[in-house]
């Protein structure tokens, strides 16, 4: 399959931006939480699920998507949001609970909605799949070639919504793609203790659809597989499942004691970091220069810095605004 260099550059920039974003978020989240960690304290309170290490899934898929395509994401949504082009300022402001946020501070980190780029996410495992199904249904009803992608974790593939949605999507040949980020754990529970099959692509057989498996967090492979799945969806060939083997460098949430895994595990994983691998690929296989890379990185860093500045400088909503927006 021919790979567009522009696409790879976009992927690199996006992955880099995500990494940068999550690193900064880890810092922001830690503020006000020391010496004693208190989940409710600091400028970014509440649960915080970061996606550091999981960039390939988001970037490798979203590079094939346009604005009109829908993405639904789970409780760990920043990488998908960034890759889908969610307004970074307003997203960050939302996570800081500010009035300028996507949801005026009402949603927070797990509840980011940007209808301009058709992105949404939510805190209930598996629940975003039916929403993507509905977007796919609407796309088909309207005769468009738009697709809908539901990102989920491997833990979510054991939730009933997964099964119900894929059966319906297959039955009606809808342009739905379910991307399963197998980061090996659902909180503390390893995949082997939650899932009866080694990988979820085999579950495609239960719906008579296509199943793909991407090994070892490989960005290029994710790119290729996603391209095929998106093309199939756009051309009326129905839904697919993509499972990507990926890695969660951080805890399930920030503050996770991680008693369930070896401290070395992540050290080893970081040695084969997908951002470094993609960087090397660009440099060595695609004739991209260090300067180009540096430019992309700077651009990404700048955007991220800018978004955090925007968030920090924004005002909190007025308390009484809590009563608004229940009904339109």
């Amino acid at each position: 399959m021919a790979i567009s260099k522009d696409h790879l550059l976009w992927m690199y920039e996006t992955m880099y931006k995500i990494r940068c974003y999550e690193d900064k978020m880890a810092e922001a989240y830690a503020e006000g939480k020391s010496p004693v960690f208190n989940i409710g304290a600091g400028p970014v309170p509440g649960e915080m699920h970061l996606a550091t290490g999981q960039e390939p899934a988001a970037a490798g898929m979203c590079v094939h998507l346009k604005k009109e395509d829908t993405v639904t994401a789970p409780h760990r949504p920043h990488h998908h949001a960034i890759a889908k082009g969610v307004d970074l300022n307003r997203m960050t402001a939302e996570i800081f609970g500010k009035a300028t946020g996507l949801g005026k501070g009402k949603g927070g980190h797990m509840h980011l909605f940007d209808p301009d780029v058709k992105f949404s996410c939510g805190g209930i495992v598996g629940a975003g799949i039916p929403h993507a199904l509905g977007a796919a249904l609407a796309a088909k009803k309207r005769g468009t070639d738009w697709v809908a992608v539901a990102f989920i974790g491997e833990g979510a593939a054991n939730q009933g919504a997964f099964h119900e949605s894929l059966n319906m999507a297959a039955l009606w040949k809808l342009p739905l793609i379910v991307v399963i980020e197998n980061n090996q754990y659902g909180i503390s529970v390893p995949k082997t203790a939650s899932t009866a099959v080694p990988s979820n692509d085999v579950r495609a057989a239960a719906y008579g659809i296509k199943g793909y498996y991407v090994k070892d967090n490989d960005p290029i492979d994710m790119y290729n597989v996603s391209k095929e799945a998106v093309e199939r969806a756009r051309t009326g060939q129905g839904p697919s499942i993509i499972e990507i083997e990926t890695y969660r460098y951080l805890g399930h949430f920030q503050g996770d004691p991680e008693v369930y895994r070896d401290k070395n595990e992540v050290t080893l994983l970081r040695q084969k970091d997908p951002i470094i691998r993609l960087r090397n690929y660009l440099l060595n296989e695609c004739g991209v220069t260090e300067e180009t890379i540096a430019q992309l990185e700077n651009k990404a860093t700048f955007e991220v810095d800018q978004a955090y500045a925007f968030a920090r400088e924004s005002d909190y909503p007025k308390p009484e605004e809590a009563l608004e927006d229940v009904f339109v």
Partner: protein, 339 residues
Amino acid sequence: MQQTKQRLLTGNKALAEAIRLEMERDPNVFVMGEDVGVYGGIFGATEGLFQKFGPERVIDTPISETAFIGAAIGAAAEGMRPIVELMFVDFFGVCMDQIYNHMAKIPYMSGGRVKLPMVLMTAVGGGYSDAAQHSQTLYATFAHLPGMKVVAPSTPYDLKGMMISAIRDDNPVVFMFHKTLQGLGWMDQLDASIGHVPEEAYTVPLGKANIVREGTDITIVGIQMTVHQALEAAKRLEQQGIQAEVIDLRSLVPLDKETIIQSVKKTHRLLVVDEDYLSYGMTAEIAAIAAEHCLYDLEAPVKRIAVPDVPIPYSRPLEQFVLPNADKIFREAIQLVNE
């Protein structure tokens, strides 16, 4: 007698007509659910629609409530206006997450940027021995959770007018229709299940209670089936010289507190009747409103009639024992007025 001018429809035909009119008016409206197609809905709410609009707009689904109600949310977020049927309200347990955590909360969590103009319609009610998992009304289960309008009309006229309002509303609306008030040929035949329904599209506001009978001695608040029971009781009370005011709540959310408060201020007595479970239910909310807002007007303790916190039993004598009825209302009202 203007009988000739009356256009009589059953509840189910009134509902189906409302949906038909809105489907003709707006191509974004479509219907999805189990057996809503050829079958026309188990309780007839989609009668004739499949024949008129075909399988693209009247869609039979697998028995996958989480997926298809969730899909309605996804489609509504894209600007469609889905009507989904949950066949019996009793089945809410397999899909409540989509309903209460997503449908009801996404508009709020998005700061109002995502609108979900959808209707979740569902059949409620017992009285025909369908037992514990097919006879519930669960009014309060939905009304307690913020973010959805919850309505429960009791006449063919209101069924049509409120369904049209629900479809045109930009908020998610849970639309409950009572099986026995659908006027179906295979259930108990009630006069109340047939009524005058104008041919054209019209709206009845969501959130306005209806004083269906004026009176001065006692306020009886009911909803759906219990409104008709209250009206029957009111007739018999009249023979005893008692003028009961009967309020048809029609809508649980938004709740028309003002109409209730004004009525209690006038009658000084309140009896609330519900086909849902007693505790933590609609009767509690109405009683609480009275205790908050018209305590000094009350001349007797508030009384409540509802299912006494037991699952709905199957056997006829058992079921009849737990359901509200005109007799119970009559007896309680008499007692209350004589307090």
